[in-house]
Amino acid sequence: MKYLALSMVAWCLVAGCATPRPIPVTRTLTANEEEQMLWRQAQEELNAINASGVLYQDVEIENYLNRIAAKLHANSISPDFSFQIKVVKDPSLNAFAFPNGVIYIHSGILARMDNEAQLAALLAHEMVHCTHRHSLRVLRSIKDRTAAKNARPPRVRELAQLLGITGSIAPLSGYTRELETEADRIGLDLAVKANYDPREILNLFELLKQEIELEGVKEPYFFGTHPKVGQRIENVKNWLAEKYRGKITGTKNTDVFQSKISRLVLDNARLDLRQGRFFVAQRTVEKFLAVKQDDARAYFLLGEIFRQRGRQDDAAAAIKNYEKSISLNPSFPEPHKAMGLIHYKDGEKRLAKKYFESCLLLSPDTIDRAYIQGYLRLCVTNGEG
């Protein structure tokens, strides 16, 4: 709540700002007092995020993301800037950059992407926020605005006290329209120079726009602040037509991308299911299965989506997917448990007993064994044993 309130205060200030004062961007990064303060604040928040258990721990994915960032960074204006990309376990569509070069991407946005070119476009956008020191520019705008109201310009420390979370005000509350447009424009250029197909950013925008409309959710920061997604799509189309006409080539790296993030896609579908976003979860698992057709966990998850949604015919669809999961990996206990539950609720105690017993045999320490033991007792006392 405190963060929300502070973000709102910051947002009101930021939103009301005039165009942020340009900062000469040089190849060497010289941090002044303001920037050092921003970085210190950012580090404090990063420490809190890293200790919160929200990070998605997968070294292979992190290495992959960092390699793409390095490729994009080769043509950046600040080659001495150091980037670190991390993934947050969150099914919402978001990404944000801290001024010190640490970029967080939500698992939700990664899972929705189709290829590496889309990922590169997103990363390049966030990297420009860092290299072009957008947080510092926002801070200075606030400072100018406050100074205009008072006789004496506020000191950095006073601003920090006023905002509390200055280090992250920009990444968490959105930048101004000018800064977002700059990040889109220069980010697109970085992606092109790194030999990625720039048209993919449009596909990503469109994909996410559809999902935002479908789910009726408030647009997330990356796609929802200034300017609105529709305007950003128009901007990119104009740039492609003007600056890159006849020069649009580049790679998508679809296969590499899908193979690298496949585990994350499934884990994110679990988060969607947890939030009851059945359609999105189903679509994501089906997308995964189109690439990896023999994954027992994916079929089990699809079964769970149907069972928990509970519409007409969903039970039959769930059973079909659980059976497929068991056939692919008979020692995976979860579909056995789920089959037991479906049959138990259907009154088919004999079948339920069979599956519950196999579940306990495969996983004697399963966290809900007390429930299963209870079901088994009832299966026996009801004369079905």
Partner: protein, 195 residues
Amino acid sequence: MKKIIALLISLFLITGCVSVAQERSLKSLPDNEFSVEIPEGWWKPNHINKYLITKDGAFLQYVLIQQRPIDLPYRHTKKKLNQGMLPQEAAGIIIDEIASDRRILNFDVIENAPAVIDGYAGFKILFIYKDRKGSAFKTLYYGFISGDSFFNLRYNAAMRHYFEKDIADFEQILSSFRVVKPKLSKAALEIALDR
């Protein structure tokens, strides 16, 4: 004049003490479709949920008792409870709701098991989590579906010291809990009743 002021101060203090004493000797909660006995020392903070009671302050420990329509949407998951659910399925939705709350960090379920509350088949979940400031909490959450209501009683306390200190009081509250207007659940939650 001094005497009058002294008298007024005394009166103010006395009335204040009476008010605090009344709060701290809380014996029952406002009327609803349940009744519960409150042990000595628990009180209801002002301006907080009317079914929340504490002993040392809500940040250190509290007991929250809720009766909620089963079709009332949750804040963090779109899943809904229904009358035909097994306690295990209802527990799953509660876990999903809590785990999807961004304010709940390092969430970990220690125990998830069937339970009987006032003769109703339900569940109990024991879990730990941290808040954004890094403070660690432990929660024991009991719940069951009866008719079109979902009843739940939860005991939340700072993990260090306070959870163990007042768990016996919570168990006393739990055993005194009664549904006043019982409604037969469609769910034949025979599993827990068998235990």
